[in-house]
């Protein structure tokens, strides 16, 4: 994760980004519609002239004005029992309401514009305070000219949206939840091919033989998958040709080296012979290291349960038997799940290194934890300065030179090989200063071996295969 991507939580996932954009767009669209609707219905002046109650009121007003007294009495009676909200009231029971208050004022304005011929009869009123009245409600009165007026309540307009308070949040919730779910689902659909691509890249990082990515989905993703597969093939070819080339070079170097050695051995004893033979041995070791660095990366070898104490002891004895002071101190019967040939090579390299720079190699084994074992290889040399510690594990590093090794001693692959093997076993290798002087290389390995990281199964070609290669060229 880079610094950039920490800036915003939305940078973490395309899924979140796309989902958020979708949700916000939908909400804006719906909110716009919603508010337009509410605003439209909440504008009484636009509605009043055409609303049902206004039309009804004007209709009744005309009828009442023309009716004879007997008809009027029965009409008034019918109105008072009806539910349409029209009422004939004596004018002295009404007071004129102050204008300027919405919505009654606005409605009246609208009505005045629509029915200018009724302007003289129209007024905004309130009931006089009394039992049963709602004194503060604005009503519209149409004066009938005989001391009574037809009164109606614009708030009772059935075409107006008399929205209860909970409707807005409810509508929002009902909108938001399905929208969020659908948007995230949609975004997921969109990003699924990307996720597959990322997973494939991950698999490829640990397994060069991973199956190619299926080229499906949107065009951009198909192009990306195609490019990815092409890159994968190319990397595979590079790794293979690198391995094959180094194996071939190593092999072809050993043939002249064998001639050189035979020639040197035919020489009379003396310094020339000694030095030539020493160089031959050094070169052979370098070739061996280069080959094993490649081969350990490539070849899967069998894990088995190994008595680690005997493994360490044998390494030390092998060195001691050639006159180099390596010794093992530690418990017996320590069983470790590992690849024994590789583990032997890793520890041998550490011991060899300790002897080269630190004169002695003391190998110890610590089994205090039941989950892991700790192998330490200590020497009595000058150690490695802190600033160079990180460097010595790098392949072809010149860390050795910093420690005063002659240049002919190697490629600087010894520790790189050791680290590669230890990490392949799920372990860790670290360098520590030893008191009063010297270096301590510490290897921590899990006892129950983790399933090995699958390295690219690129085989350094076996002898017959190489012969064929050569025959072709």
């Amino acid at each position: 994760m880079t610094t950039m991507s920490r800036l915003s939580p939305f940078n973490h996932s395309i899924l979140l980004q796309v989902g958020t954009v979708l949700i916000i767009c939908q909400i804006l669209a719906h909110a716009g519609t919603f508010f337009f609707m509410v605003w439209r219905y909440e504008r009484p002046d636009l509605l009043s002239a055409t609303s049902v109650s206004t039309v009804q009121a004007i209709g009744f007003y005309e009828v009442l004005k023309r009716a004879d007294p007997t008809e009027r009495a029965s009409l008034e009676k019918a109105l008072s029992h009806s539910e349409i909200g029209l009422e004939v009231i004596k004018s002295d029971r009404l007071v004129v309401a102050p204008r300027g208050l919405l919505p009654g004022n606005a409605m009246l304005d609208g009505l005045e514009k629509a029915q200018p011929e009724l302007l003289h009869a129209m007024s905004l009123v309130r009931r006089q305070a009394g039992p049963g009245g709602t004194p503060n409600a604005d009503l519209i009165a149409l004066s009938l000219g005989d001391g009574t007026a037809l009164v109606f309540d614009p708030e009772r307009d059935s075409t107006r949206l008399n929205l209860p308070r909970f409707v807005v949040p409810l509508a929002f919730t009902m909108l938001f939840v399905p929208l969020a779910v659908l948007s995230l689902w949609g975004a997921r659909m969109l990003t699924a091919p990307l996720r597959r691509l990322a997973e494939a890249a991950d698999r490829f990082a640990i397994d060069l033989d991973a199956t190619p990515l299926a080229q499906q989905g949107p065009a951009e993703i198909r192009t990306l998958a195609h490019a990815f597969n092409a890159m994968k093939t190319r990397i595979r070819q590079l790794v293979e040709s690198r391995s094959r080339m180094l194996a071939a070079v190593s092999h072809d170097l050993r043939t002249p080296l064998t001639r050189l050695r035979l020639r040197a051995e035919a020489l009379a004893d003396g310094e020339d012979k000694e030095r030539t033979l020493r160089d031959v041995v050094a070169m052979d070791r370098m070739i061996g290291h280069a080959l094993s660095y490649l081969r350990d990366q490539a070849s899967p070898s069998a894990r088995e349960r190994v008595d680690l104490a005997t493994l360490l002891e044998s390494i030390c004895d092998d060195f001691a038997d050639t006159g180099r002071p390596a010794s093992y101190h530690g418990p017996r019967n320590v069983v470790l799940d590992c690849e024994p040939d590789l583990m032997t090579r890793a520890i041998s390299n550490l011991v060899d290194n300790a002897l080269k720079f630190g004169h002695v190699a003391k190998v110890s084994l610590d089994t205090r934890s039941s989950a892991e074992v700790v192998i330490r290889v200590e020497d009595e040399g000058p150690g490695i300065p802190d600033e160079a510690k990180f460097m010595v594990f790098e392949p072809f590093s010149r860390g050795d030179e910093a420690r005063g090794a002659p240049e002919t001693e190697g490629f600087g692959l010894g520790l790189a090989i050791a680290r590669q093997i230890v990490e392949r076993h799920g372990g860790q290798i670290t360098l520590h200063d030893r008191q009063p002087n010297g270096l301590c290389v510490q290897v921590v390995l899990p006892v129950r071996g983790r399933p090995p990281v699958r390295m690219p199964a690129v085989q350094v070609p076996s002898a017959p295969a190489m012969r064929t290669e050569q025959a072709k060229s």
Binding site: R254, L262, E313, D318, D321, R332, A463, R467
Partner: protein, 239 residues
């Protein structure tokens, strides 16, 4: 040996073949050279060969194939030479029936030691008392595989040994319940590594006991025979 031992070098690199031949001649062997399988077959028809140095990579039929073919009909000792120098090739070579294996570039001293050891083992195999070579052996639940040079204990846990230790244990296992003197043991095992820092048989026995005996202080498998040498006490069976 009455007649001069005849060694056939199968190697396509002329200088390596001639250089090795010259050195082996000086060491008292009769040497022939074949650059490929066809010449090898012709030479083998014409003369008795006591030991073959076989290069792994040859034009035409390669070393592994030759080894497999020869083993089908012939017990002649074979030492494989290879520039690949890796465990896998060694194991494959030994499993196909090569008696030993030497990585290029080899030292002539080591080559000579291997030749002598292989010849000595071959001569001893004429006497039938030793266990058949190359087979896995088992004693008291342990398994010893001379071809891959591996030893597993009763819990199927691999026990790692140095070359010299393994040779010595193998020599003892191949001759169970026989008293073997230090000289005999030295003779049987010296081929592999004869260096100035070679450990004495006693040291090696002590190391082996540490690795395999249930109680190294009171050894059960390898017993010291007073004034005689050592004896492997367990019953050993080919697996």
């Amino acid at each position: 040996m009455t007649a001069q031992t005849h060694i056939l070098i199968v190697e396509d690199d002329g200088e390596i073949a001639r250089g090795t031949a010259r050195f082996l001649n000086q060491s008292g062997y009769r040497v022939s050279i074949a650059p490929d399988a066809r010449t090898m077959d012709r030479l083998m028809k014409d003369a008795r060969i006591d030991l073959m140095l076989l290069d792994l990579m040859l034009p035409g039929e390669d070393g592994l194939s030759i080894c497999r073919r020869l083993r089908a009909s012939n017990r002649m000792p074979i030492i494989m030479l290879t520039a690949m120098g890796e465990e896998m090739d060694r194991v494959v070579g030994l499993e196909l029936g090569a008696d030993d294996y030497l990585a290029k570039p080899f030292s002539t001293r080591e080559l000579l030691a291997r030749i002598r050891a292989v010849l000595r083992r071959g001569a001893e195999n004429g006497g039938s008392e030793a266990m058949p070579r190359g087979h896995k052996l088992t004693f008291d639940g342990w398994i010893l595989d001379p071809a891959t040079r591996q030893l597993h204990n009763r819990d199927k846990v691999k026990v790692v040994m140095t070359g010299a230790e393994f040779d010595l244990l193998a020599a003892l296992c191949e001759r169970p319940r026989r008293v073997l003197t230090r000289d005999q043991l030295l003779d049987l095992t010296q081929g592999r590594a004869a260096g100035p820092f070679d450990r004495s048989i006693d040291t090696l026995i002590s190391r082996i006991r540490q690795k395999i005996e249930p109680d190294p202080k009171d050894p059960l498998y390898i017993q010291t025979v007073r004034l005689g040498g050592y004896m492997f006490t367990q019953e050993v069976k080919p697996l």
